[in-house]
């Protein structure tokens, strides 16, 4: 094989740790007794609830709508009765308004029929995507219809599907590509029609040869000659938007700009699958494939769960935790957040919940910066994490804009390589909160 594509600056290669779940087919988890559906799962203002306590809802019913600004509607993940409108624990925002549904486990799952979308125009397709509550499920949660409506002056010529899945442990996108390649390619065709582009690259890290083969086959069959699969080097953060665009097109997205500035739109492969569901099947986004892995869980799995499923119910379903469990992380080990509660519900953007044993985490105490410069080498954005951290520790976080803190996307490469084990990315996050933009 010729040299694999990758981005030139920075990056690290943490242990991939995907073997635990890469071979496990997506398993449908039974509907739990209760679901807590958070109203603000996307970037933008939370939804306004459309139901009140005691209402009965059917699977796929609209229960939260957008009333102001950027947003994306919320649907009932299962049939049931509204138990309460309250607040839920949230991995990043501590707490968030939510709707709790007492599920009706006797109700048959809703069936969706395939419809022909070839006659639909751009506006109709966008309307379907918006109504289905599609957001970027890779993690950011940016409303998809907004991403598909780039500023009129930008000339979009390329769609990129992100199948890098560069975070260790997570295999949710990997399984989607293996099990639903044709749906993803059809989803890509829908996006290409909306954007009016005729070039689509699917970027996949080379550690998923089976997914590359499956997607290549599907692209050849249903891509109309316009969808190409690109194998990329296994390097974190290969799946970061700017690095991915640079890898596949050679274009650099300027600071504070969106990919549309260089004529590119990027969607995660799982988001693309959700777009397929929305347009072809008319199914809103209320289920999510989540990787549950780590040596701290009895039975690791790739689970298809209802949005709103509490992590506690997932743990019970998988047989509980092991005695070695030391840390629970929402998201990947590089960018995820440590959890303080099992009551946190799965949202549309949850890709994994990791149950890590003591041997899988590093708890050594951190010390002072020795100015080795490893973080500078590792930073894919060309920043100086050590300087930012030293400023924050000295109580001068508000002066860190000069070091480009707002260009940092918190990939965590700096913390990963730091020989002094300094919490660099955490200090950068703190700097972002305090510094003036």
């Amino acid at each position: 094989m010729s040299a694999l594509l990758t981005f030139p600056k920075g990056g690290v290669h943490p242990p991939e740790a995907k073997g635990q779940t890469a071979g496990l087919a997506i398993e449908v988890m039974p509907v739990p007794d209760e679901l807590e559906i958070i109203l603000g799962q996307h970037i933008g203002a939370p939804c306004t609830p459309l139901v009140k306590k005691g209402d009965t809802v059917a699977e796929g019913d609209l229960i939260g709508e957008v009333t102001k600004g950027l947003g994306s509607p919320i649907h009932a993940s299962s049939a049931g009765t509204v138990k309460q409108l309250g607040v839920s624990a949230h991995p990043m925002r501590v707490s968030a308004p939510s709707i709790t549904i007492q599920t009706d486990r006797q109700a048959p799952p809703r069936r969706y029929e395939r419809t022909d979308w070839s006659g639909l125009g751009r506006e109709e397709l966008l309307k379907k995507i918006q109504a289905a509550g599609i957001i970027g499920v890779g993690g950011a949660g940016f409303p998809t219809h907004a991403k598909l409506s780039p500023p009129p002056d930008s000339k979009i010529d390329t769609l990129i599907l992100n199948g890098a899945e560069c975070e260790p442990y997570i295999t949710a996108d990997h399984r989607q590509m293996l099990e639903h390649p044709a749906e993803i390619v059809e989803g890509a065709r829908i996006i290409m029609k909306v954007l009016g582009v005729s070039t689509c690259f699917i970027g996949i890290e080379a550690n998923k040869p089976d997914a590359i083969a499956a997607m290549e086959k599907a692209a050849a069959a249903g891509g109309g000659g316009q969808v190409q699969v690109r194998a990329m080097k296994v390097k974190y953060p290969q799946g970061s938007e700017k690095q991915l665009i640079q890898t596949l097109t050679g274009r650099k997205v300027p600071g504070f700009a969106l990919p549309s500035a260089v004529g590119v739109v990027v969607h995660n492969v799982s988001t693309t699958k959700a777009i397929y569901d929305a347009v072809v099947l008319g199914k809103p986004l209320y289920e999510k494939v989540v990787t549950i892995a780590g040596k701290g869980i009895k039975r690791p799995a790739n689970l298809l769960v209802k949005v709103g499923t509490r992590v506690r119910d997932i743990v019970d379903y998988l047989g509980g935790v092991t005695p070695e469990l030391a840390k629970i992380v929402y998201g990947g080990p590089m960018m995820g957040f440590a959890a303080s509660s099992l009551d946190i519900p799965v949202t549309k953007t949850t890709s994994s919940v990791l149950f890590l044993a003591g041997e899988e985490i590093d708890t050594r105490p951190h010390s002072q910066c020795i100015r080795c410069g490893w973080c500078i080498e590792a930073c894919p954005m060309g920043l100086e994490p050590k300087e930012i951290a030293i400023y924050v520790e000295a109580g001068r976080a508000q002066e860190t804009a000069q070091f480009g803190v707002f260009e940092c996307f918190e990939c965590g490469c700096c913390s990963y390589v730091c020989p002094a084990k300094r919490p660099l990315v955490q200090l950068v996050r703190l700097a972002k909160m305090k510094a003036k933009r």
Partner: protein, 316 residues
């Protein structure tokens, strides 16, 4: 840090066979005093005691490596006070010291005990009588380093005493020559340095720029006429190898960005050659590194890493 210590062990072992068992004793005294000094300094300043991180052990070994093998056993104790208490902790502690502690101590010892530090050289042993030099002290001056011979008596005397090319290269590369305890064997230092590179603890930038500059400038200016100097001999003599691989690229006191590291390395190399050829001392790398150390933060401030892509419409 302990990997660096492991890389310094082979030159230490070799020094026992070249200069006798006293090099081991001097190193042991130096390491013990540095570790003790680290603990005392940190206790006295109310800081956390971090002797287990191995950094004081490295300083202790490097301090012993840059002093002559014939000095009194108490000299490294004094050096340790200078290196650890003044050089490291009074100047801010780990991560904040401006100068390389071991070299600062060597400069201090050179200024305060000039006779011992410039004349306590021992000739290499030609048998395994490693205990024969046990009692030797300052007064037992018996030889001069190649660079001192070259400086004071010229190239002919150097050839008479240490042989001619290519034999002299082999002798020097293996380490059988007078010199400071740990600096003599280019081979073992190179192996240690390459191992650190292989493990990605250090990169090539500083060692290559230091040695490259020394070789280039010695070739141009080191001979009787221009371009007749001996570049290979230049990097195999004195502390060039030890300085390039284990002193100049000390994380704390060298720049963090690659371009700055190259400029810094070129600076170290150029000052080294300047001192060797025009200065009062036969060897200059110690002062060259000490002079470039404070330039590191300036270089870091001036030369920033290349950002991914600047924001549209200029910096915000």
């Amino acid at each position: 840090m302990w990997t660096v210590v492991a890389c310094l062990v082979p030159p230490l072992v070799l020094s026992v066979f070249v200069f006798g068992i006293r090099t081991l004793i001097i190193t042991a005294v130096s390491v013990a005093s540095c570790v003790a000094m680290e603990a005392i300094s940190q206790k006295a300043m109310g800081r956390k005691v971090t002797v287990s991180d191995g950094s004081a052990v490295i300083t202790g070994m490097l301090l012993a490596f840059v002093i002559p093998p014939g000095v009194s056993y108490w000299l490294p104790i004094l050096g340790a006070v200078m290196a650890i208490y003044i050089g490291k902790h009074l100047l801010g502690g780990i991560g904040y010291n401006i100068f390389n502690p071991a070299l600062l101590a060597r400069a201090f010892l050179l200024a305060t005990f000039p006779v011992a530090m410039t004349s306590a050289w021992l000739p290499p042993l030609h048998n395994t009588a490693i205990f024969s030099t046990l009692g030797t002290a300052v007064d037992a001056v018996s030889t001069a380093t190649p660079l001192a011979v070259l400086k004071t008596q010229g190239a002919a005397a150097l050839a008479a005493q240490f042989g001619t090319a290519p034999n002299i290269y082999t002798t020097f590369f293996l380490g059988w020559r007078p010199g400071a305890i740990g600096e003599t064997s280019g081979l073992l230092i190179l192996l240690g340095g390459l191992y650190l590179m292989y493990r990605r603890y250090i990169t090539w930038h500083i060692p290559v720029s230091v040695l490259g500059t020394i070789a280039l400038l010695s070739w141009i200016f080191g001979g009787p006429t221009h371009f007749t100097g001996d570049p290979l001999l230049a990097i195999l003599s004195g502390g060039a190898m030890l300085g390039a691989f284990f002193m100049a690229n000390d994380y704390v006191t060298s720049p963090t960005v690659r371009t700055s590291q190259l400029i810094y390395g070129i600076g170290v190399g150029a000052i080294t050659v300047l001192i060797r050829l025009k200065g009062g001392y036969p060897e200059g790398i110690c002062y060259a590194i000490l002079l470039m150390n404070p330039v590191s933060p300036v270089l870091d401030r001036l030369l920033k890493p290349k950002r991914f892509a600047p924001p549209l419409g200029g910096a915000k």
